[in-house]
Symmetry: C2
Subunit: 435 residues, 2 copies
Amino acid sequence: MSQLETAATTPAAQGAELSIPQLIADMGRRARAAAALLTAAAPAAKNEALERAATLFEARREDIRRENAKDLASGRQRGLSDAMLDRLELTDARIQAMATALREVAALPDPVGELSHVRVRPNGLRLGKMRAPIGVVGIIYESRPNVTADAGALCLKSGNAVILRGGSEALHSNKVLAALMAEATGAAGLPQDAIQLVPTTDRAAVGELLRADKFVDIIIPRGGKSLIQRIMDESRIPVIKHLDGNCSVYVDEFADLAMAETILVNSKTHRYGVCNAAETLLVHEAVAGDFLPRAVAALAAKGVEIRGCARTRAIVPQGVVEATEEDWGEEYLAPIIAARIVDSFDDAVAFINHYGSHHTDVIVSKDYGRITAFTRRIDSACVHVNCSSRFSDGGEYGLGAEIGISTDKLHARGPMGLEELTTSKWVALGEGQIR
Amino acid sequence: MSQLETAATTPAAQGAELSIPQLIADMGRRARAAAALLTAAAPAAKNEALERAATLFEARREDIRRENAKDLASGRQRGLSDAMLDRLELTDARIQAMATALREVAALPDPVGELSHVRVRPNGLRLGKMRAPIGVVGIIYESRPNVTADAGALCLKSGNAVILRGGSEALHSNKVLAALMAEATGAAGLPQDAIQLVPTTDRAAVGELLRADKFVDIIIPRGGKSLIQRIMDESRIPVIKHLDGNCSVYVDEFADLAMAETILVNSKTHRYGVCNAAETLLVHEAVAGDFLPRAVAALAAKGVEIRGCARTRAIVPQGVVEATEEDWGEEYLAPIIAARIVDSFDDAVAFINHYGSHHTDVIVSKDYGRITAFTRRIDSACVHVNCSSRFSDGGEYGLGAEIGISTDKLHARGPMGLEELTTSKWVALGEGQIR
């Protein structure tokens, strides 16, 4: 390690009580220094760190549960809901699942150093685009402590240093998990500072982190809309957003209606609280009379409330309540769906691009031209043809673990896995070429 | 075209005098509507538009020169320097060069619809990532009117609508060029609003454009540091920055010193005012005694001023002035270079990552391990081995035309061509699959 790098890893006031700006600057400097070493780390060393972390999670299960119990106790005292407490709890099974997830990330192909766009220029210069770590990633998240392990693992594997800022209700759990991961990273011969957790619940630390553009290259928020909105408003660092999924299923006039029913029911009812659940049903008017009665019956049998346009209600007066303008843009995350008849394929496309959230949209059709036009014209991260909206997921797409589903268009769009946690650099190999 | 799209293309107050916010909102709505049509435009139609624009440039050369003469006259009146006036002037040769550039963009492969990451999942789902236009691109630039043609062409070819905001001194020239391109686009059956120019020199229009996050997906600034800084501070839209190039040439202890001299001289002196010119020379101490005297002599013969560290000056007392701390971070864009001896390879890497601008950095070495480590550890958009820094350029890399060289790490890094003006969407083709 060079003098410059050594200097960077020495904290200004180790052990002393730091102010929030000092704390974040110190963490940022350490993260930068760690990133400089991680960028050329051997894949085997990164995998060893992840394997060691998995083993530590298993070996120190009691420590993890003891720290988690502190969070649960203070959560009960603060009156967290049963659902919140359940999300917070680290059972033996969940600790085991975190260890397994770490081993799965270790088993994924290493993205760093991968070459693309390889070419030889007329002057003999050999060129290619090489995947490289981004540098320092800031992750701001709520609630579930397993994000600490998952996000830490994905960042380490992709060669990035990470600064984690979890929810205050999970501070003790997050601290012990991050500490074990840092310990494992050090034991594998990599910089411990590769994985750091902001060790305070002070909300000022979030603002400070969002201003630390000298130290942090990208912010990835995971949480509710208000958290993401705050981050977008305050951040001086590029943010990859994971916003809502107002996903549509469009049943074309050339659809197989039995397939359409199966896909609609699965897209809506497989899980309600997820961003890739269907929230809107669009039906071409040519098949509305045939399709809507069976679709409404199938959804109603699952306990789904249907909010329809006037024409939908004219066809199925029973069991369809009146939709308002708000319904077309709503992400219910609940057993509710908005239903609307469209005059044409073009109207379906325009409706989805206007009211949808550009996450995942489905067409059910047998017509080649319609399918081709839908995939080209729908402006969404995931465009699905004759299959459930529920497949838009890093695991289902075969990307391995994901850090979220980006609803942004730049840098990363859709499920965000290891590749999306990297940037690239052009590498030119010459033998003395000049211009 | 659907009702929703038709509505969007009807300006609120066509012909009436619009306020700046109304003007930008109207342009934004038109751009969005154009983008919705462009996204599925046939490659042949886009190419026809570019060919027609090239022909129009040639046929209307007199119109272009007349409008350009207005800019030149008011530029002289406002006391623009001769260099500025020269940059502004559209000679017959330059108009011909713009037409040729349009035809070259037409001849490039169309990036839209290209598939990558193609796979078949165990359930039979066929998946791939499809390149798609970003949507609406905002380009804010200074001076040279040819940017109007180049940027407009690259955006159109990549399926994006573009809102151009050029420098006030080139308003008449930019207006006629943008109008001819819009005319050609309409004649090819594509929306005229695909290429729009902000038709006012009011600076408030820039601020309004930077806040138009509902209509504009990405801002690309081209110009001086103060312009880019203002845009970064004000923009609510993601910005791809094109900042300075403080590029280094590192001469390793295992360098071929004759090759090192050739590469150094070319990197520094081939052109001075460009972002990929070398601004810093680093020499490993083991070869400093051999290399520095010949390097200084070769640079001095070209009229380059050398600002060296104390050790450099000890070796070559004549002709090397004392460097200050500021010199290590300076982008001279002039016949000046900073020179420094480093103790080790690690120090060279740390120095470049600390003081450089992460644009283009060069190693000259015969050692395989050093070269490998340099390409991995240097955190720059372009890492060159044994060749001039001057090759970091879209044309030299074989990407065709470029819209700039991004010094950002996210979305696009290095020369930014057609591919970097696109995003992607996942397309899943199923036969009824559900979860």
